[in-house]
Assembly symmetry: C2
Homo-oligomer: 230 residues x 2
């Protein structure tokens, strides 16, 4: 290592992942119950320390897999939390991410440091360890902003989805009712939402058309800025 670096202060660096999942028309978050002190038995956002040769993104994916059995999902940086006393063990600087997950695609399992993992509806969270309430609030706010600018909503749905599912997702994230007919008119104008020519089956009601997201068409349109005004 360079001489210049040797005289600097060094810090342990962690990542914390707010895992959002959409199920039963609700937005949920996966939390773990801690096995160890500090905050033993408290619920917490999964996370852990960065290792020597990985980026923060790689570290976050690794921790996600180790702690919850969730693999290879969409991640976005939210914010760094750096208050010197935010962790009672000593100074830990943490980078928050949110992860977007289709909950049906994974069977969440508690890893070594956790006694349980569980999906919680975002409006009924338990008391959280450390400054994780702040991390959660910041992440949800960031999600609400990003969902209007980028097509991240599709990460929370199945590959093929109905317009009703799509609408309920936006209603859950933005926490407001949206008019069905107006929503569909806007969706129809988004050319990157394509009819898959398939329909649902096995439901107790009229089948619905299934749609797909086309990332190539999206890229073209998003060049000049884009705003999902819903």
């Amino acid at each position: 290592m360079d001489e210049d670096l040797k005289h600097r202060s060094f810090y342990p660096l962690s990542v914390d992942c707010v895992i959002f999942g959409f199920a039963d028309n609700k937005l949920n978050v996966a939390l773990i119950q801690r096995k160890k002190e500090p905050f033993k038995n408290h619920w917490a956002i999964p996370g852990g320390f960065i290792e020597e040769s990985e980026t923060l993104e790689q570290g976050a994916q690794r921790e996600l897999l180790e702690e919850t059995n969730i693999k290879d999902v969409f991640l976005e940086q939210v914010h760094i939390f750096s208050k010197p006393n935010r962790d009672p063990r000593g100074r830990v600087i943490s980078c928050a991410f949110y992860a977007l997950v289709n909950p049906k695609a994974f069977n969440i399992l508690a890893g070594q440091d956790a006694s349980h993992v569980k999906w919680w509806p975002i409006n009924k969270l338990p008391k959280l360890a450390f400054d994780h309430k702040l991390i959660f609030d910041t992440s949800l706010e960031k999600l609400r902003q990003s969902i209007r600018i980028k097509p991240i909503g599709f990460e929370l749905l199945e590959e093929k989805f109905t317009l009703t599912e799509f609408q309920k997702l936006y209603e859950a994230i933005l926490d407001k009712k949206i008019d069905k007919r107006n929503f569909r008119k806007k969706a129809a104008k988004m050319e990157f939402i394509k009819d898959s020519n398939e329909i649902t089956s096995g439901k107790k009601a009229r089948p619905a058309k299934l749609y797909l997201f086309d990332p190539v068409i999206y890229k073209k349109h998003s060049q000049n800025g884009f705003y999902f005004d819903l």
Copy 2:
């Protein structure tokens, strides 16, 4: 320090500040010329290492003052850059910020590690050290998004400003022409832009009304989400 922490990997952590300033109807960035290796004589985004008892935000403000003589300005986190080999001296993880500055309020001065500081128009930057081109591009993109969601534009102007200045600022940041009459109609509808009942003087043309930003009124309006559609 806690036993648990002792066994972790530790990293030097730095901040880099992309300093935006608005002058002569142009958006500029303050860069420093490095005195030392690596990248000796290259132009770079000012920044430095975090100390033991400061947050990243405090560290960024300190570095800004030490390296450029800019003090106590608006700062926003942009992104963390964590590729293990991004710094040839060894692993350095860096958090990028942008700073918004009214250039008339400061006389920028080179600190110890720099031979010069200089404002550069954003479309005529020199070759930059490290991964600072990537950091700059990411920061500009973030600024372009944030300026539509939050009233950060006012940080780049004087306390009292004319509507023409306000318009030129948006044109510079978004890099597009905006119709004067339509812009003014929209500005008139923003209740947090208040007439100061003063006018400019000493110009070679008709004096202009001066306006003020009212943060209290803004807070009220921004609760339900906000989008500067210009």
